[in-house]
């Protein structure tokens, strides 16, 4: 299925990929059921044959919306401005994403500054008469204040409902200012999973920023990442390749030159799926079709595929051999230190597949994982990118593998199933509960932490560090009350209230 860049509105993940946000079972089973996406349906969902069974229940807790993912992508481009076309409440995200932006800039040795997000601050009367005038005013303010290279517009639930012609004013202002003014359609209610927000941003970037007549740079590789430390530059140097980090912390020019690169990679298919596939489809920049670079087999395969596409096989083989040798002794030590420890992974979908692989390399038992959503397939539709199958095939099954869009009320029961010594997280909301149960969490703010060969060691060291926090959490656990009723906590099944549809 082709990505459609003709319309300004991105298709949601559930439409494109069949994404689900609630499921419970074994990893192997989910992998098998997802095969429909490539072959025939193995599940028995009756007339919904070509879809994964998704569970649905009456109780839900606050999730995350697509607009937030737009903030954390388009809002973190260094020489652009993001307009939040919304009431002031959606603007609350400015505080959160500013904190992240500042930390990210510091991690990447870039000058630390506040981000540039402007809320159009819609009021009650705008809901009646429309907010387009205010949008245009804010676009003009953005221009006068910062002279950015591009202006992005994030829509919101409110402007989606009142039907403001955001595309029209974007076009008008683009004509007036002579820079790309890019509407990103990301109403929170439009997709059940926030990752559609990634796609919305990437959609706009491909439509309006990426250079249409590229001059190829044969040693340039697009790396789709967030704010993580720069582990790619030294690695790619070994292969004589240069890094083009996108989307977060990039400049508009970095984004424009994506079409000139020799390949596109990422640290997580959930994030990179749309952009990488789109760049290949529109500009012939090959997406590296391989498992993600986690653990030995994943990293080996990923490097080899990158080397093949960029014609650097020999350099890659030498590098792989050197690295295996280098990391082996410390990994052996870490395995001894981590023997018998049980971990639980609760992060985004494809990322969790990678992290579990690394934990298993370290000899950590992983009997349970909660992923925030599940994409049965990625935009490339290439089986070489089937991260879940890669995990199950290389490292064995994960008996308790649940999909739940950060529903804390289910998390208690999930932890009871496997009683882990620690958890690994990336989004907020779950660690506080684990903490109240005496279980420490490692929040992987630096998304590159566990990547590649060195990532195996990094993650091992981090686990040792957080295991020592256990004292704190155990002490806390003895003194807090959970907000859940005993009745609910006593239910063995965290999915009791949800049923397949």
């Amino acid at each position: 299925m082709r990505i459609n860049l003709d319309t300004p509105v991105v298709e949601s993940r559930e439409q494109r990929l069949g994404t689900i946000i609630a499921w419970d079972g074994k990893a192997s089973e989910l992998s098998k059921q997802s095969e429909y996406a490539r072959k025939s349906c193995a599940s028995g969902c009756g007339e919904k044959g070509r879809r994964l069974c998704e569970m649905k229940g009456p109780f839900t807790q606050g999730s995350v919306c697509s607009e937030q993912m737009v903030e954390c992508q388009a809002g973190h481009i260094r020489d652009a401005v993001l307009i939040q076309h919304s009431p002031i409440g959606c603007g609350a995200g400015q505080v959160i994403y500013n904190s992240i932006y500042r930390n990210g800039l510091a991690m990447r040795n870039l000058p630390v500054e506040n981000l540039r997000l402007i809320s159009t601050n819609l009021k009650e009367q705008d809901m009646v008469f429309g907010g387009v005038d205010k949008l245009e005013q804010s676009i003009r303010d953005a221009w006068e204040r910062h002279h950015p290279k591009a202006i992005f517009i994030a829509t919101s639930c409110a402007t989606g409902i009142i039907g403001d012609d955001v595309d029209g004013s974007a076009r008008k202002m683009e004509g007036e200012l002579g820079i790309p003014v890019i509407p990103l359609h990301c109403e929170g209610f439009m997709s059940k999973h926030w990752s559609t927000g990634f796609d919305a941003t990437q959609h706009g970037i491909m439509r309006q920023i990426v250079r249409k007549n590229p001059t190829k740079q044969e040693d340039l590789v697009n790396v789709i990442n967030l704010w993580g430390t720069d582990v790619f530059t030294p690695m790619f140097k070994e292969l004589n390749l240069r890094v083009n980090f996108v989307v977060d912390l990039a400049t508009v020019e970095d984004l424009a030159q994506m079409s000139e690169a020799a390949a596109t990679v990422g640290f997580c298919h959930t994030l990179s799926s749309y952009l990488a596939a789109g760049l290949e489809q529109e500009f012939g920049v090959p997406e590296i079709k391989a498992p993600q670079p986690y653990g030995f087999p994943g990293t080996d395969a990923w490097l080899r595929e990158l080397a093949k596409v960029t014609h650097r096989e020999e350099l890659a083989e030498a590098y792989i051999a050197r690295e295996h040798l280098r990391v082996a002794p410390r990994i052996a030590e870490l395995r001894v230190l981590l023997k018998g420890k049980k971990g639980f992974v609760s992060t985004g979908s494809a990322y969790a597949h990678g992290i579990i692989a690394v934990l298993r390399e370290l000899g950590v038992e992983v009997d349970g994982s909660l992923v925030f959503h599940h994409d049965p397939i990625y935009d490339s539709q290439d089986p070489r990118q089937d991260t879940l199958a890669h995990l199950v095939d290389n490292y064995g099954d994960v008996p308790s593998f649940s999909v739940s869009n950060r529903q804390q009320y289910q998390f208690y029961g999930l932890l009871q199933r496997v009683k882990p010594d620690f958890i690994i997280i990336r989004h907020n909301g779950l660690a506080p509960l684990a903490s109240r149960l005496g279980i420490p969490a490692a929040p992987l703010g630096d998304e590159h932490h566990a990547l590649g060969y060195q990532g195996i060691i990094n993650l091992g060291e981090t686990i040792l560090e957080i295991l020592s926090h256990k004292k704190f959490h155990e002490d806390l656990a003895a003194h807090v009350t959970l907000p859940y009723k005993k009745w609910w906590l006593d239910q063995g099944d965290p999915f009791l209230l949800v049923k397949g549809d």
Binding site: F59, I88, G93, V95, I118
Partner: protein, 461 residues
């Protein structure tokens, strides 16, 4: 003065900036649904949010996490119950979804009261959330509704909606008498004021020191809903803020015939705090001797520390900023400005009121600033857009040394640029860990001095 266009400080006029627009860059308040935190601030009360999937997470992440890392409290946080409205509820309405969620919440969550708050979507598509909540109320379920659609107001006005909802729908009618010496306190905005927990504790401590019995209502020192149930029995209401809580007190006056005392100044420092306590005690008409004894004891401790500080203050070799700027909501802004002028003898260099207070209160707020001291001229500017605030500060002339900025994380870059110090005293304070720290009363004033001058001194080398 017309706050918007010109800022006058010490007789100087800042050059005017272009006219205000709708734009808000670097938010300093959020929307009415942010008041879900006012529900979370009452022990064992849990909000239920009827809104899009990101709304609750955003309010929490910004008000409670990236603002002092306060945490979400019992049942609060990023994962309060939420309908996570999707397209079908937008098209077909979300009443059934809300009903289902409330019912499930009763099953799963252990709360003494649920407060349903609504976001933009249900208010726009016309859900009758009231009807749904009334069904549960009819069954005797402790649940109330506050319609806090994001475009309708700020988290300040949302706070009063939540408060009012609990009073009208949960506390209910009361015909009994009032207990002398008992006071309900309506003061700073929970969570948004980064220091609200410590501040409310200190206010409670001071009032109790004067012999009053205090319903503090928010924070862990409140007994929770049983304390709220007793609101009508109190002798009077104390509104301790320039405007927030006034509507509540007026409502209570109408509803229960309960009088209220409005003191716009949250006290910081011995003078202000002692005079605050004396005023409240006089209003209550209780025996002042207890208060006087308490004041004596507190002032002894206070001035003991102040004496130590005085040595630094008179001798610190490397000079200190003589001027200060406050960027923050009116209650803290006024309290801090008074303290720094009257107790430290610093000179005001610009007071920016940032919470967008309702028009009708603005003149009274400005007057409070004008009357701080006869020898110091202070005017305020009502500004919400940080870009404008920073431009105005940049354009000011502060003399020999740049001012201390009492502000927020948004002022960090500006302070660096001006080679001055920023003390993060309000939303958002993303570089402060705040648990029980307070800036008010006797104890808070000392902690505030510690914080300000630690920042100043560590900035020197």
């Amino acid at each position: 003065m017309q706050g918007a266009e010109t800022v006058v400080t010490e007789g100087r006029t800042f050059p005017p900036l272009g006219p205000k627009t709708n734009s808000i860059q670097q938010v300093r308040y959020v929307c009415a649904i942010g008041a879900m935190h006012s529900a979370s601030a009452i022990p064992w009360v849990i909000p239920i949010t009827h809104c899009g999937p990101g709304c609750a997470e955003k309010q929490f992440g910004s008000l409670a996490m990236c603002n002092g890392f306060q945490g979400g409290g019992y049942g609060g946080g990023a994962v309060v119950p939420s309908t996570n409205i999707s397209e079908s509820e937008v098209v077909f309405g979300g009443e059934n979804r809300l009903r289902e969620l409330i019912r499930a919440s009763l099953k799963i969550l252990d709360a003494e009261l649920f407060v349903v708050v609504t976001g933009c979507i249900p208010d726009l598509v016309g859900d009758d959330a009231g009807a749904v909540v009334r069904e549960f109320q009819a069954e005797g379920v402790p649940v109330v509704l506050a319609e806090t659609g994001g475009f309708k107001g700020t988290n300040f006005t949302g706070h009063e909606l939540v408060t009012r909802a609990i009073i009208d729908q949960y506390v209910g009618e009361y015909a009994g008498g009032r207990t002398p010496g008992v006071v309900n306190v309506w003061s700073m905005l929970p969570y948004h004021n980064t220091f609200w927990q410590g501040d409310l504790s200190e206010i409670k401590r001071v009032l109790e020191g004067g012999g009053l019995k205090v319903n503090i209502l928010f924070g862990h020192e409140s007994e929770g809903v049983s304390e709220w149930k007793r609101i009508p029995q109190a002798q009077f209401n104390l509104v301790l803020s320039p405007w927030l809580g006034l509507r509540t007190a007026q409502h209570l006056e109408g509803k229960y015939g309960q009088p209220f005392l409005h003191l716009p100044i949250i006290p910081i420092g011995a003078d202000e705090t002692s005079s605050f306590l004396r005023k409240v005690v006089a209003f209550a008409g209780i025996d002042p001797s207890l208060a006087e004894e308490f004041i004596k004891k507190e002032e002894r401790t206070y001035y003991h520390y102040l004496e130590g500080f005085g040595e630094f203050y008179s001798e610190y070799f490397w000079g200190m900023p003589a001027k200060f700027v406050v960027v923050g909501e009116s209650a803290y802004n006024l309290a801090l400005t008074r303290f720094l002028i009257n107790d430290l003898g610093l000179m005001p260099g610009g007071q920016f009121i940032t919470e967008n207070p309702p028009e009708e209160y603005r003149e009274a707020i400005s007057r409070e600033f004008r009357t701080i001291a006869d020898d110091v001229v202070t005017h305020v500017a009502f500004e919400e857009d940080s870009y404008r605030i920073h431009t105005l500060i940049r354009q000011s002339d502060f003399g020999q040394k740049p001012p201390i900025i009492l502000g927020t994380t948004w002022e960090r870059d500006l302070a660096k640029e001006m080679r001055s110090a920023v003390v993060e005293v309000g939303f958002p304070a993303s570089y402060e860990m705040v648990l029980s720290r307070t800036n008010v009363g006797y104890r808070g004033a000392i902690a505030l001095l510690e914080k300000i001058y630690t920042t100043v001194v560590s900035g020197t080398a």
